[in-house]
Symmetry: C4
Subunit: 277 residues, 4 copies
């Protein structure tokens, strides 16, 4: 998977996930905030659950596809782990990527079960997301032995986003429905997605000349570049959040803007889901 | 204790502990959730306490046995710390293992006192568990000087589970009865147990050829292997949890499944013990 | 920007910010504590918001000025990133500083929007402050390659303050209005400001002889010096806090000191804003 | 201060502090638990405050004495920082120790002000304790350059206790009056005290032969030794806590032991001070 496509593919996946989550959480937050003005609560609860089920199924599906692709692609290990003829492990990279997909698949499956049945506490879905991202970061951490300086550096920067998401998702187990944590998670997911693309462009430049992987100036530039990706991710999330908020507000209320000034005390309260569920 | 048995024994111990804890916490959580339907609360409280006392006594007993075995086995130090004839410490490994058992024994003893008398706050038992596992990880951390690469690596991976348990148990001091934290602790305990077995198989293979302890591919395989152990541990915990939940539900209620859909709001609340005690 | 002025300028900025924040939070805390005695609550709310808007606008303004100065000063990159003639990145330092200013500018802009409109949760302003300082520390962290020992050391010490502020601001997302966290953030901001001056004096001494950047005794002295800066910052914050408290009390109440003894139970409660808003 | 006495002195200080704190917190916790049975609450509040004032004054006094002793002892720097004749810093060690005392003195002074007047939030005293211990650990961290292996190791082990106390005290800012956190802080303070003695015995053995500071077995023994110190500290704290609890109970109640079984629900509640103040 050491190729441009091999980084662009997961990058696109995380970009889509980040945008989807931003939309979802913005929509729900806006509905919660305006629920006393007209959004019928019961409908929202049912449709929320349906949305969660669809999302979980999609995650589960793509994880399975990913695992199968890693195993049965042209150069895949085809479920064989050890090559006893040549006495070495077969295609460890593919196996590692399969393992990462496995944990995302588990998170999807558990989330599906939680939202279909009443079997487990709701917060378990966030815990599984935290475990899946932690596992991804854990495998990357021991993935980098013997590579050149810049290669190691761009993957280490990736780990900030990965472990950041794991931490935020773990905090959400205790502060479920806190819109700030949710949007922060979305931001970091977008950052991870766009950074995968950046890694692809740096290590396997499709058209341009190759990068000098040992130049310290390149390393300093890449570090700064990471900050820019973060800034752009924050921008995208805030634009999406604002758009969704405005649309929901204009749809639900049709009330003159004068009245909005009175909403302050109410707006602060439902920051966490717990209080209103 | 550097032998296959020396790793299989603690591994089995932690596996049993993990399964026992999973069953216990699942049972109590299921009882709490369904308490309004029929499980008489008072009985449950008394039997809970009896169970805790038995568990604490067992932990205390096995820790004492472990300490004595380490000291008075054939090659043990027999309570002598310094060999003044040859001017070196006697059997430091055995002493270190004794010290680990000592802290688990302390945790068991304190838990016994807490649940027999009313002398100390209930949360102290979790704090002692946290201290015991922290101490185990702390001793392992300075245990690895001068070993070969893979040997160090498999023990470092062990530390993730050990310090993870210590952290989760410390969080439980503040969030007692949170079923997710409890199950996470169970998962990590199972992981630790099965990983001890894995270490035994890697470092002291009983039948197969020896591993090359300096091969980097082996290290990458082992890292991935750790993720698989985690996945299996999660699977075992969830199967156990589901089984116990189903059995409790079918025993206690004998109500048609139609009614379950109504339980949602109630199910969310008693996630933490504090609210219902 | 490697010059005395280049460190004195941000130092002064953070010193002013620290003093301003100390005054602001002390004032509001004092007003909250004494609100039942005479400070009309509504007025306070409106003026608080006005103050926040002015502060945010100032931060935004100075960040923009900083970015422009870094780009278009005599030796700035003038928005060109890559010098294709000589095949290297142009003025990476200036670009890094611009990036730091960018995140502070974003924090100011978001804070402006939050306090002008009702679009986003209030706690977002603290989250943006946390991100801005985290980004500053993150860029400094990879800023130090190949410098001499003492140079690296004084910048590492700076990171304690920077990441400390980021952490405290993140905690404030959950504990908004906790006066202790606010004052701790002020203290660390002052520390950062005065430490920038100290760095300037150590690395680019204006009048005195140069420091030996490889002497270990200098390093030990500098470490201790950092503690003194912290002590002085704590002193300044406590003097400011006491002064503001006394002034507010004497203005608002005009009650004999005898009555103060009765305030105890009331004083403890409003430590966090949430309880009174 | 590199001598046996130089380690025994702070060791004794921390041992006394640990025992004093254990007694104080045990007494108050026992009083809180039994307050409905007879301990007149008002009296307790006044005497608590008096005790705090005495403690703070003692800390302030001993810190001042310590600072003066470091400065004006036979080989002290006598407030001169730089020896311009020989062009080096004068007695950096003494200055560092003075700085440590300074922060403990600040914590004492602030605590004195808090409990005498009503000027600042109560939790500030714990925050100052956290800062004082953090500062101690921070100075030790950069204190160890160029020493031999075992010397570095015993001081690093000390840091576990020091930063542990700082962390626990910081948590107490948010969970004031939680008896478990208080006793944990006492335990770590005792551990720090006895470990200072141990360091003295290892590095400057008064009667026995010198230790080989480069032997790896010594390092492993010392690590284990640290665990034993922790176990003994836990033992001392629990014995003290039990004794104080029993004495308070027998003094206050004079009720037959039969009734104690009923106290369970009440005992759990007042674990945190906030709920009853």
């Amino acid at each position: 998977m050491g190729s441009f496509k091999g980084h662009a593919l997961p990058g696109s996946f995380f970009l889509v996930a980040g945008i989807w989550w931003t939309g979802k959480h913005s929509l729900w937050h806006a509905t919660r905030r305006n629920k006393n003005i007209g959004s019928s609560r019961l409908a929202s609860r049912t449709s929320q659950r349906r949305l969660e089920i669809i999302e979980s199924a999609a995650i589960l599906f793509f994880s399975l596809v990913g695992m199968l692709a890693e195993q049965f692609a042209a150069d895949g290990p085809k479920l064989r782990l050890y090559d006893s003829a040549e006495n070495h492990w077969k295609d460890l990279m593919n196996w590692q990527h399969s393992t990462m997909y496995l944990f995302f698949g588990l998170a999807g499956a558990v989330s599906l079960i939680i939202h279909c049945t009443e079997a487990a506490p709701l917060a378990l879905d966030r815990l599984m997301v935290a475990v899946a991202f932690f596992n991804e970061g854990f495998l990357f951490l021991y993935h980098l032995h013997g590579r050149s300086m810049l290669d190691v550096h761009v993957h280490q920067l990736l780990l900030y986003a990965v472990f950041g998401i794991a931490l935020i998702a773990f905090l959400e187990v205790f502060h479920r429905g806190n819109i700030l944590l949710e949007l922060l998670r979305c931001t970091l997911t977008l950052l991870q997605g766009s950074w995968f693309w950046q890694i692809g462009f740096v290590l396997y430049p499709p058209h341009s000349p190759e990068w000098d992987l040992k130049d310290h100036n390149n390393m300093m530039f890449i570090t700064m570049c990471y900050s820019w990706h973060l800034a752009v991710a924050m921008l995208i999330v805030s634009v999406l959040y604002s758009t969704v908020s405005c649309v929901v507000r204009s749809r639900l209320k049709r009330t003159p803007p004068m009245e909005m000034g009175l909403l302050k005390p109410r707006e602060r309260d439902p920051e966490s889901e717990d209080e209103i569920l």
